[in-house]
Amino acid sequence: MGRSSAGYDELIKRYLEEEAEAKEIRRRYADWDFIRRQPLRVRAALEYYVETGDIRRACLIAGMDLEDFRELLRKANVPVVV
């Protein structure tokens, strides 16, 4: 990517700290009863999103398009933290 290794490592470290905070927020806000009631594939995608914040891969797991999955996150009370 053309950056010094130290600079890259520092950015990744900061990103991981921010992501840890975001994950904690997603876990805390999530409506786990709603998530557990979903079909297995959708439930797996929601749990994946809560853990990673990666909406693109979560859509693939759910077999849903981006906008439908974003709406599902709202129903599951999982915030997008960005």
Binding site: M1, T52, G53, D54, N77, P79, V80, V82
Partner: protein, 190 residues
């Protein structure tokens, strides 16, 4: 955060899908003369309400379609591949990669809520100078330029409205930093 006035922006799907729900969404067009929407992004928008907002603003000339060339797609494909090779954290897909490429080539502000794209741009020397705004920066800029009104006793109000309308949460540290800047610039707070 500078108050320089960029004229053009390019928006990705994650941004548009949330922003279209914001009660003050049209303030975007006071900040930018034109906001481009790549065709690949438009193809991802499905809901009637979001499409109606986009269509109405395409008709008014506030939004414009960006037809990506084969050169842009080729560079964007390199970003997708590079992100998968070097960045195991959050995926970058073609629609948002196209925005980053166009942002660099044309000097447009990239509007995104995609964590993968933000991380990729920060860690890539080729794209680190591309200006990326999330809803957080857009709302802050609209307040700084007085397109959105605020009460100095409640500087977070407009941000809270966005969070209520979209079920999006701003990282508290980033929000506190931005509110600090607004308080200092607009209300003389230290």
């Amino acid at each position: 955060m500078s108050v320089r006035e960029p004229e053009f922006a390019i928006a990705d799907s994650c941004f548009l899908i949330d922003w279209a729900r914001f009660r003050h969404r049209d303030v975007l067009f006071k900040l930018f003369r034109t906001v481009f929407v790549p065709e690949a992004v438009l193809r991802e928008v499905k809901s009637e309400s979001t499409l109606a907002w986009i269509a109405s603003n395409l008709a008014k000339g506030h939004l414009a379609l960006y037809t990506e060339t084969s050169e842009v797609i080729s560079e964007a494909t390199d970003i997708v591949e590079d992100s998968r090779r070097t960045q195991h954290l959050v995926a970058v897909e073609l629609p948002e990669a196209i925005c980053l490429v166009v942002g660099r080539r044309r000097g447009y502000v990239v509007l995104t809520e995609n964590r993968g794209l933000i991380l990729y741009s920060r860690t890539s020397s080729k794209y680190e100078d591309v200006v990326i705004w999330r809803a957080l920066e857009i709302i802050a800029m609209a307040i700084l330029r007085r397109f959105l009104r605020v009460d100095c006793n409640d500087l977070e109000a407009r941000f809270r409205e966005y969070e209520e309308d979209t079920k999006h949460l701003f990282p508290r540290r980033d929000l506190a930093r931005v509110v600090g800047i607004l308080g200092s610039e607009l209300c003389g707070l230290r």
